[in-house]
Every structure is written in structure tokens, then in C-alpha cells.
Symmetry: C2
Subunit: 223 residues, 2 copies
DNA sequence: TAGATTGTTAATCGATTAACAATC
DNA sequence: TAGATTGTTAATCGATTAACAATC
């Protein structure tokens, strides 16, 4: 994750964010192993999939509990199940989507990629009047004005912003003012928000624009 | 960035990866400021947009040069231009897209979101025969078998993988065997690759699955 | 049991921050 | 000039890794 952008010192827990960000990676590796019928793995094997030492994996895993089989390693299944539970991926969380255009559709596709339906899109909105009434994922796109009412009446936990950059801040404000503290933002603008709000900027540019640095470097080194 | 996944100790440079990952964030802030007609900013103001101290911003910026106006701050325009150049965003880089389905379309939409056309999709492929011949972004989707030839004959630098998980490794191997060292992966599977390959896993699940941990925590705290 | 791997502590490494002289 | 902010060094903080006793 591109760290930081706005203040997200969201620490109501004692698990360091660096560790928390590695846990989903472990989960994917465990899934892969499970598909290959591997029953038991160990920190050394897991480390071959990542840029970390086995000792770090062992340390990370102690945050979620002690599931190691001494002298053997870890049961893939047990570890996977516990990781999922620990990360809250065994539950389903209601979200609202704001932005029903191209970006919104892409956002939905990407979010729905994962098998376990952890993120459930409960309603969709758009700031643009001529988007209202269209459909996304069989849901009617509603007027942004009605977002507040939905947030007040339904058990929504997460807001997904997929608007154009100039709507991002307005939308984020509505969300935060209606006790939404978790925001996934696909737009290229990062809104300023109170520190207690956990904001994830998924704009891929953010992640990919440091790649070109290396590309440029290697070109310079050649010449 | 969710760190690591496969080994990508790609350090042909002396700028730490943590710093490199913050530079695109600075760039976005500078763009925002420029849109608001702000001509000069300073490390204190920039820090209000992020979870870092002003001194860190100053330190980060020294990696790209000394553009500060002593006693004044930084010219938004000068800093922005230099950052862009430093990151290689003033150039255009040819890419190939593999995967022309839903995920591929989403990938393309997201990549094209950014104004500056840094990433140019030069050709598209798909492992599935019944996708061949269809079109994505006005380009004809080609058979995966022809990927190798394209890589041999054209100046492609980056591979974008947007296949289903079970094709990811195969596709990645073809890319790497044809001297592609930069891979952007939208699929949910992270291929094992040589250390010198720079792989960015943009699977949003990876970024979002630590959010549910906090969500679960705050629910537990309530009860 | 011997061998292997965990869980955990202590040592190392690197990143962040505070402080301040240099500069406009 | 006085005031402000940079660039940079030194101090602090935290994360990674090595080492090893405990355990199966």
C-alpha cells in the first residue's frame, strides 16, 4: 500500500500496520498451497514467496496466535482459517459505492474479484444527475442527495469512492459526517479527512509511478 | 504498497523504496495545489496532507535535488516538473496487456485514468482462444502464442497481467523469458519470479483485506 | 531419540524525527 | 535586517533479522 497520503494513524490495535499489510499476502500464499494440495508448510517455505526472512514470518504469525506444530511447521488449513478470522474476512461488510461510471464499474469488478464476498455493495450513487436511474450490478444508481438517508438508515460500514477527482472531497465529507470511518478511494484525488478515518487510496497510478523511476534508471545506465 | 509478495529487491538505485513510494503522493498533492492556483508551498503545508513530519518531506526531496527557496518554501511548478522528470513520468513507456476480459478492461480503465499517457498499451493478448479477435481499446486481442514474437520485435518495457489466476504464472514466465523486467499484475495470484524482476501486485484485495481487521476490532470494542 | 522447526529474545539495521546552522 | 524555511546532521524510534532454547 502506498503509505500514508492523508493522516490515517488508525491505531485502535496493537498489531503494527506493516504486519497487518503482510497478512493478506500470507493468506494468498496459503490459498495457493492449498490448491496444490499442500497440507503442511513452514516459515522457510513461506519465505520463498516473499522478500522476508523466515523469522519475520514466525514473528508476524505470533500476533494472530500460536498455531505452529513444533518441529513440523504450520497446518495450511488451520493457519488459513485463523488468518481469515483474524482479518475479519469471515464476515460480510456492507458498503456503498459512489460513482457509477467507468471507474465505478472497474472498482466493482476488482472488488468482486475475490471469492469470499467480504465486501457487499448495498447501494450505489452518483453525483451526476444523468447517471441517476442507470444500473450497476443490477442496482439502480441513486442521486447523491439520497446517500445521507441511506447511511442513516442502513448498516453501512465502508464507502467506496469511484467518482471523478473533483467530487472526491465532497463525497468523502458526506461519508465521514455520517459515521463512515472506512473509505476505499479509487479516484486520483486523496481527500483530507480526520485522522481517525481509515482511507485506502487504490488509484493504481500511485503504485505504478515509482516503477517508471527504475525503468528510467536502467535506460540511463545502458547509455 | 503492500510490501514484498515475491522477491523484488530491485535496487539498481540509491533511493530507498519507501521514499520512492512517497514521491507519487507528493506529485498528487502538488497537482492539487496547482489546481488551486497555489504558486509556492512548503514542507509544513505538504505535511498536512500526509502522515509524515515536515522534516521527512524535506529529506525525501533532497533525493531528487535541491529545489527549495530558502526562507520561502518550494515553487509548486518547479517541484512538480522535477518530480515528474525524476520519476520518468515525462516519457511514454510501451506495455503489453494480457487478459482482455472484465479484469483487462478494468485494468485498462484504471491505468488510463491518469492524464499523462505514461503507460501506452501497444498490444493486447489473451490465453483463451475465444477471446482472440475481440477488441479492447480499439486493439485486436491476439493469441497468447503471438506474445513472444511481439516482445521480440517491438520495444515493450512493461507487461500488464489481467488474466485469471491460473494463467498468471505462465504469462509471467513468457514475459520474463523475453526480457520484460517490469510487471503490473492485477490478478489475485502472485507469480514467483527472479529477484531482478520488479512486480507490482495491484490486486485490490491485498490492500483492502487489512481494513476489515480494524472494522472487526472496532466492533469487538463496542460490544 | 535425533532432527526439525517453532516461538521469542537480543542484536542489527534502517527509517523517522528533532534540532539547528545556513540561507534567502 | 528579522523572519522564515530550507538542507542536513544527530538522536530516536521501530522494524527486521539472527540466534537459540523449548518443543514435538
Amino acid at each position: 500500500m502506498p503509505k500514508g497520503f492523508p493522516k490515517t494513524n488508525f491505531l485502535n490495535s496493537d498489531v503494527p500496520e506493516v504486519v497487518l499489510n503482510r497478512l493478506p499476502i500470507y493468506l494468498r500464499i496459503l490459498n495457493q498451497l492449498q490448491q496444490q494440495q499442500v497440507k503442511v508448510t513452514n516459515s522457510k517455505e513461506l519465505a520463498t514467496y516473499m522478500t522476508v526472512e523466515p523469522s519475520q514470518i514466525r514473528k508476524d504469525l505470533t500476533y494472530i496466535g500460536r498455531f505452529g506444530l513444533n518441529g513440523k511447521g504450520y497446518s495450511v488449513k488451520t493457519l488459513k482459517n485463523n488468518l481469515q478470522k483474524f482479518l475479519g474476512l469471515d464476515a460480510s461488510w456492507n458498503t456503498v459505492l459512489i460513482g457509477g461510471g467507468r471507474l465505478g464499474k472497474s472498482a466493482v469488478d476488482l472488488i468482486n474479484q475475490q471469492k469470499n464476498k467480504t465486501f457487499r455493495i448495498a447501494a450505489a450513487f452518483d453525483p451526476s444527475p444523468n447517471m441517476v436511474g442507470k444500473r450497476i450490478m443490477r442496482m439502480r444508481i441513486q442521486n447523491l442527495k439520497d446517500l445521507e438517508r441511506t447511511l442513516k438508515t442502513r448498516n453501512i460500514k465502508i464507502g467506496i469512492i469511484a467518482t471523478s477527482n473533483n467530487s472526491t472531497q465532497v463525497v468523502a465529507n458526506i461519508l465521514v459526517n455520517n459515521r463512515i470511518n472506512y473509505i476505499i478511494n479509487f479516484s486520483g484525488f486523496s481527500p483530507k479527512l480526520p485522522e481517525y478515518v481509515l482511507l485506502k487510496n487504490l488509484d493504481p497510478g500511485l503504485q505504478v509511478e515509482s516503477m517508471t523511476y527504475h525503468l528510467r534508471q536502467s535506460r540511463l545506465n545502458k547509455g
